[in-house]
Symmetry: none
Subunit: 412 residues, 2 copies
């Protein structure tokens, strides 16, 4: 069937890490419960809510594995590591068979001890440093290296016989640079290449003019590139192939999710003011989603800051940011024609935990003419008795395309 | 264990396509919500309700795949097409390895263009036309052909090396008769046989006395048989083998579901006045179910008209027909001894969609001495918070036989 005249469009709003637990500073309410969210509440009242285990009960999702599930893929079958998503998020093309890493520019002493994992939070000169590493060849493997924001960078290895099953060289704290070890026989070459890349990065960056200048200024030199998060791109059908020809776009600031969406075949436009942080232009992103819905059947609108407040343990800040999202949604909902709106989170980041947790996330589905339930507002508590019941993340896209009238009939 | 003294019997009432969405013409209620159904409401109050994804969330079921799931089979593993169910519904024996089709008597011009897919809605003479095609042999394949109601007929191919993986010859609208194409190498012979059958049907029917007489009366000749819906019978254990020796019957008017039940090994008695349409004798079918329960452990009672009203977008008609079903159930429930009553739908056919949809269906299970929940009436909205939660269609039979005390203990 696909896109018939009556098929509806789909707006999926993901508030990263929004789901939470009762917070003492909010009189025992969650940030979502404490927030004044008249627009979300209206959609909940007119539509249906439920709870969602984004991967499965008890699984603590990362933002990458969670978004794979939300886009309809099975992360337990296809996920190897965050590297390819970070690389694609920085605009690096990642191909089947590549192994990609997230990297830090770091500072090591002569004994290869890491003295500053973020090289004095370097912000300038990383383009030149990255260019000095990019394009080198180790054995028959091509090295692609690109700078990211501040001390961040990405590394892609390309060539025959690579495998993502290697340990990291980044010690994740002060201490000796690690030697990468193959976790499977087929990864021995990759570990060898990665160790040689690490050695060469130190050799090249140590004498780079950018670092010589930093030394003069008394700043920590960015004299090594430390890799972690090895992974290969998931071998999956594109988002469109996976969902009966549905064409989609994603409005998202952070690199990890941008890259994941790009690798899935979603269009990821740049939005002015979208920072992927607490200072993002919440309303500009919502407007960009409306614009994208004019040319796409499906739009993912992602807000990151809810998760950041969760990691900081700032329940009040999180609650206030949820109110900002609600206000932005209120501005656009009236202009959405024949569109299903779904609001949810990719995982819980309870302020009391300051990290991701396995608690299921609230889910809201609203569309003109669709069923309602007895839910009165949008919250973790209310959604627990919502009409959608308890679902899994990988089921969500099929439910949405089904309700949108985009799924073919199975049988007669 | 099977049939012990205490085991209960099971009446499964399936109202085809009954589940719906809020209808504007019913003040925002669904047809089930708007209907006065005192008997269903009483069973809901005393028993339990819930929601059921008949195949899986987001999947739009056909009536055939849905009934496979309701009878406890996995349609995604065993379904190939509707043909064998249609054929069995017309009383044609379908064997393992056969490939069966639903057919139309149609009218084509000299250029093999379909000018009337239903041959002037022919209603007389089809037995003679079918007899002229039945029994022919093409290569080493036996052709079994039988007329159905009006312009409908069924075709069964029997012999070595057949496969259901062929495209249809029926263009489904006016236009050139299609050439069947093999969708897999093992289906090349079947496509060849089907194309030759189509050619021969035109040759034989074109000069048949029934059509010569129709021509004289100015009626469209039924001068070709066009096949679609190819399938082979599912290779599954019988219903009785599948459910610990449960023996069953089905009271059902429409060919598709009759055939499916027959192929599963259910007894399918003829019921006077059961038409599979809006003019069916609702009460006669309910009485036939009671009679069948005297000699069987399990009876499926199927009403089709709810689906027909859904396809027509007639919410009021659907609601009124649901009231007729409720009244018929009211007549029989008092006479059911030691019997679990389950009422549900095989899929949603929302009047606003006029076609099947993926929305889950309401489910009601009642039996003397079984648990109750907080449900007050039988509706999509109420069932969303019912005590049965959200289940899948293929789980239903096991739940019912379990409650009926018919399942063996697993373990010690």
């Amino acid at each position: 069937m696909g896109d018939t005249v009556d098929a509806m469009k789909i707006l999926l709003v993901v508030c990263d890490g929004m789901a939470d637990r009762p917070a003492e500073t909010l009189k025992g309410m969650t940030p979502l419960e404490a927030a004044e969210v008249p627009n979300m509440d209206k959609l909940a009242r007119e539509g249906q809510t439920g709870l969602m285990d984004v991967i499965a009960p008890g699984i603590v999702p990362g933002s990458d594995t969670a978004h794979l599930a939300l886009l309809g893929y099975d992360p337990r079958a296809v996920y190897t590591g965050r590297g390819p998503f970070e690389a694609a998020g920085e605009g690096v093309e990642v191909r089947k068979g590549d192994v990609a890493f997230r990297c830090n520019f770091s500072t090591v002493d002569k004994g290869m001890n890491v003295t500053d994992r973020r090289a004095g939070r370097i912000s300038k000169g990383t383009r030149e440093l990255a260019a000095a590493l990019n394009g080198m060849k180790i054995e028959d493997i091509q090295v692609i290296f690109r700078e990211g924001v501040d001390h961040r960078a990405v590394l892609v290895l390309r060539g025959p016989g690579l495998s993502p099953k290697v340990t990291e060289v980044d010690p994740h704290h002060e201490g000796k640079v690690l030697v990468s070890i193959a976790l499977a026989p087929e990864a021995e070459k990759t570990a060898r290449i990665l160790n040689e890349f690490t050695r060469k990065s130190h050799e090249i960056l140590g004498k780079h003019p950018v670092n010589l200048a930093r030394a003069k200024e008394g700043k920590a030199p960015a004299n090594i590139a430390l890799a972690r998060g090895s992974g290969s791109p998931p071998e999956v059908p594109s988002f469109s192939e996976h969902h009966n020809g549905l064409n989609g776009a994603a409005i998202v600031g952070i690199s990890l999710v941008r890259g994941l969406c790009r690798l899935s075949g979603l269009e990821v436009p740049d939005v002015k003011g979208a920072t992927g942080s607490t200072d993002t232009d919440v309303k500009a992103k919502a407007k960009a989603a409306v614009a994208a819905l004019k040319t796409h059947d499906f739009v993912l609108l992602h807000y990151k800051a809810t998760d950041l407040y969760g990691h900081d343990g700032d329940a009040q800040g999180k609650s206030t940011f949820i109110e900002r999202i609600d206000s932005a949604l209120g501005d656009i909902i009236g202009s959405l024609d024949n569109t299903i709106v779904c609001i949810t989170a990719d995982h819980s980041t309870p302020c009391s935990v300051k990290d991701h947790a396995s608690d299921p996330v609230p889910l809201l589905i609203w569309g003109k003419g669709l069923r309602s339930d007895r839910t009165d507002c949008f919250s973790e508590l209310e959604a627990a008795s919502g009409g959608l019941g308890h679902i899994r993340g990988h089921e969500l896209m099929g439910m949405l395309t089904g309700l949108a009238g985009r799924n073919p009939k199975f049988g007669a």
